[in-house]
């Protein structure tokens, strides 16, 4: 273990011995997400830099505190991207934060989520052990998939120190189209089009307008535009606005709900301003909601509701788990963080 890791490991051991909470933090760009921050900050900024990048392997390994911007610039220089388009709220964010939150951007339904591109990682667990799971190869089924278990676990299972991701070539061509439609028709179209071999890479519906992004080979994008019709627009600012949430919708209220539903779920019963993404699978609601009613509605439709941003988190940020799953969560937490020191209350209040 090198010096900076050894120092972090010592702090973890000391905290575990005293039962003191630690708050793992990269750039702090997602401090707003999850339960209120608790404990003394444990900063990952020192863990910075790309460890290995082989474009022909489609694999990059970097230390967890590496800024996303730095990582994406290195990939762009070789014509590659992170296909899950991790949000860079306010332009910040680290690789570790992107993986710990497991958030994905507009391309998610068409290319996969953060967890789909995580090949391996290293972490310091609650006993200060530096562990390595997964690997640096695309296909690897040895051992339980702890790397994907850690993705989206909000730092409650350990401090990520290094992550290996699968990359993809940047699509050579891109086009954006918009269509004026009502919500129910837009939802149906997004699903019908996704069932056809079209190079879709993003979709949204807001203010009576359905927008699509197509990415792929020149010929495929050109043909798809011909088949779909609609009105072309220059989309790159718009899609970045959704990815990083600087689109005006996301700033229209202090409270923002993220409702994750099956893509074909009918329109939500709600008067709130709404923006739909992910082919219908993601419905953002601006402004405070009746938490219990919204969660009930989401569950009935086969999904769940998250209080993505908001001052009052007393009703819980994430949809509560059924008892059997909650018990499994507590047991898994105890495997990697037996003293319960990491990111207390960030995922669920009970741990």
């Amino acid at each position: 273990m090198n010096e900076d890791l050894a120092a972090l490991s010592e702090r973890i051991l000391a905290a575990a011995a005293n039962g003191r909470a630690l708050c793992i933090r990269g750039a702090g760009s997602k401090d707003f997400y999850g339960g209120p921050l608790q404990g003394e900050p444990l900063d990952t900024a020192a863990l910075r830099g790309i460890v290995d990048y082989e474009p022909t392997e489609l694999v990059v390994t970097a230390r967890a505190g590496t800024p996303l911007a730095e990582l994406e610039a290195a990939l762009a220089a070789r014509g590659q991207v992170l296909p899950f388009e991790p949000p860079r709220f306010g332009g910040g964010g680290t690789l570790g934060g992107a993986v710990a939150t497991g958030l994905s951007g507009p391309r998610r339904p068409y290319a996969g989520a953060a967890r789909d591109f995580v090949l391996g990682l290293r972490l310091l667990d609650g006993q200060g052990r530096h562990l390595r799971f997964g690997g640096q190869v695309i296909k690897n089924v040895a051992g339980f998939d702890v790397s994907r278990l850690l993705t989206g676990s909000l730092g409650t299972l350990g401090l990520l120190t290094e992550v290996t991701l699968k990359t993809l070539p940047r699509p050579p061509a891109e086009a954006s189209l918009h269509f004026e439609l009502d919500e129910a028709t837009a939802l149906r179209r997004m699903n019908e089009w996704a069932a056809r071999p079209l190079p879709l890479s993003a979709s949204s519906y807001h203010g009576g307008v359905l927008r699509l992004r197509l990415s792929g080979a020149e010929a495929a994008v050109r043909e798809a535009c011909g088949k779909l019709g609609g009105v072309a627009f220059s989309g790159s600012d718009y899609w970045n606005g959704l990815r990083d949430q600087h689109h005006s919708f996301f700033n229209s209220a202090a409270t923002l709900w993220r409702v994750s539903l099956p893509q074909t779920a009918p329109p939500l019963r709600s008067d709130a301003a709404q923006l739909i993404e992910w082919g219908g699978a993601l419905r953002w609601l601006a402004g405070p909601q009746d938490t219990a009613a919204l969660r009930r509605q989401a569950a009935e439709l086969g999904g769940h509701a998250t209080l993505f941003r908001g001052a009052d988190k007393s009703a819980g940020v994430f949809q509560p788990l059924p008892a059997a799953l909650a018990q499994l969560h507590r047991r898994i937490k105890a495997v990697l963080d037996p003293a319960g020191i990491f990111n207390r209350g960030r995922l669920y209040p009970e741990f």
Partner: protein
């Protein structure tokens, strides 16, 4: 409960368990007679065998959960089994265990073409999903070579891949939701039909867990639109290293082929007389490189693929002119295993993965091992994602050949780990590669695996002895594997 104790006449407690299972299941759904148990002695890795106490064949998810509940109460281990096509011994029974066959849970429950999902029981065959979805223009992408027979439950347990996973992903990328029966006999849901679920990603943790955490009783999988067209380039090389370099060059050029397979000379020589796929017999290696998409897109990509492979030194590139020729080019690849079975009494299929840049070095090292072990090896594999499938040819009737084959295979896997790869790309660890787990992982990681298993299965009754070695076993194995004075697990006591 130890296996040795169970080898004796059934104890009072196992007799009581069999009575309870008999009461819970219809007559034909519980097998206990020696001749009925015989077909369940092994899976696709037939060199390892064991005779279970009984085989339960429930026809509903609830009955499957009940089998688990009863075995749990009796403290008897359970080995879940799909079609038994696995190649790592993941479903190999041992004495005193109950095999839980999911073969009767074989209904496709629902296909929703608009949502592009299929909800199926675990015993549904992989290919049956794509066949059922074909009229809707959809299919299920992961296509392990055994897809005509293997079941979706087994695919989930092994996180199966296939020829197209470089572009379309493994099982874990194509699953939305699972219903899983726990060892307590409860049924829990992991994942959801939305694109994520609250809490930890237990769906991902469960996928590829080789029957150690629970038993799939229902799966909801993602379907994707069938590409309008596909064509394949058959490229010949006079040097294996050049073929390996071409693989890296294709990816480096920003192309993600739908499939990218490599066959070496021994594999070509075995296949061509059997299948007449039109492979050049004088080539040191061939690559099959497939493009799919719209006709225009494919035409554009095929030109780029040909250019890259020619520049890498291909001596000949042939593009499939029609669907019949495309299927003929693939027929050789798909028949490679049976073709090798024709030229050798037995063969042993290995499954390691490595970074693509190490392909040439690893294949060269395997050539050296052929001499060392006095056995031939044919290579036919998923080159695009660095997933090797060395086929070691041997004769099980000759004394010592199986033993040498196992040592040969073990050395290949350890070589993969040394090159930064993995001991298994898609077949799973099972019992076959359990010792090599000690090479790939340290004792601390193995401890975490055991602790995670206990979180789901505190008594260790689900598929015991598979996938994750005990530290004791690694210590014993480690004693045999001292290289240059470096013990793999220096911190462990030696026995």
């Amino acid at each position: 409960m130890s296996a040795t104790a169970m080898n004796a006449a059934p104890s009072a407690s196992t007799t009581a368990l069999l009575q309870r299972l008999r009461a819970a299941l219809p007559g034909e759904a519980l097998l206990t007679e020696a001749e009925d148990l015989h077909p369940y002695e092994c899976d696709g890795l037939s060199v390892y065998r064991g005779v279970p106490l009984a085989v339960a064949l429930p026809a509903t998810a609830e009955a499957a959960a009940q089998v688990l509940r009863l075995c749990h109460q009796a403290g008897v281990p359970v080995i879940a089994r799909g079609a038994g096509t696995g190649l790592s011994g993941g479903a190999t029974p041992r004495a005193g265990t109950v095999v839980l066959s999911l073969a009767k849970l074989n209904r496709i429950l629902e296909i929703d073409p608009l949502a592009r999902v299929a909800r199926v029981q675990p015993g549904v065959r992989n290919l049956a999903i794509s066949e059922a979805a074909a009229t809707m223009g959809l299919y299920y992408a992961p296509d392990p070579s055994s897809q005509i027979a293997c079941t979706i439950g087994g695919n989930v347990a092994e996180n199966s891949g296939g020829v197209h996973c470089l572009k379309y992903g493994l099982t874990v990328h194509n699953l939305l939701r699972l219903k899983v029966a726990t060892i307590d006999g409860d049924i829990i849901e992991l994942g959801s039909e939305a694109l994520d679920a609250p809490g930890y990603d237990l769906l991902a943790l469960f996928t590829g867990s080789e029957g150690l955490l629970g038993v799939v009783v229902e799966a909801t999988v993602r379907l994707i639109p069938k590409p309008e067209c596909a064509r394949v380039v058959l490229a010949a090389f006079d040097d294996l290293g050049k073929a390996a370099q071409a693989v890296a060059d294709i990816i480096g050029a920003g192309i993600i082929p739908a499939g990218l397979e490599l066959m070496d000379q021994p594999a070509i020589a075995a296949v061509e007389p059997f299948v007449h796929a039109g492979y050049p017999l004088d080539a040191a290696a061939i690559l099959l490189c497939e493009s799919d998409g719209t006709p225009e897109e494919v035409a554009e990509e095929i030109v780029r693929m040909e250019a890259v492979m020619s520049a890498a030194g291909a001596t000949d590139c042939r593009v499939s002119r029609d669907e019949a020729e495309r299927l003929r080019f693939w027929a050789g690849r798909k028949a490679a295993f049976p073709a090798v079975g024709r030229i050798s009494p037995d063969y042993y299929c290995m499954d390691g993965s490595i970074p693509k840049k190490c392909l040439a070095a690893v294949l060269e090292a395997i050539r050296g091992m052929e001499i060392k072990y006095g056995l031939r090896c044919a290579n036919v594999f998923h080159a695009g994602d660095g997933n090797l499938h060395p086929l070691i040819l041997f004769d099980a009737n000759k004394p010592d050949e199986l033993h040498r084959t196992e040592a040969f295979g073990g050395e290949i896997l350890e070589l993969c780990v040394r090159h930064g790869g993995s001991i298994t790309g898609e077949h799973g660890v099972g019992i076959e590669k359990i010792d090599q787990m000690c090479v790939q992982f340290g004792s601390e990681e193995l401890e975490v695996f055991h602790a995670l298993k206990r979180a789901f299965d505190p008594e260790g009754l689900l598929n015991p002895g598979k996938a994750v070695p005990t530290l004791h076993r690694c210590a014993e194995f480690g004693r045999m594997k001292v290289h240059g004075g470096q013990l793999p697990h220096p911190d462990l006591p030696r026995f």
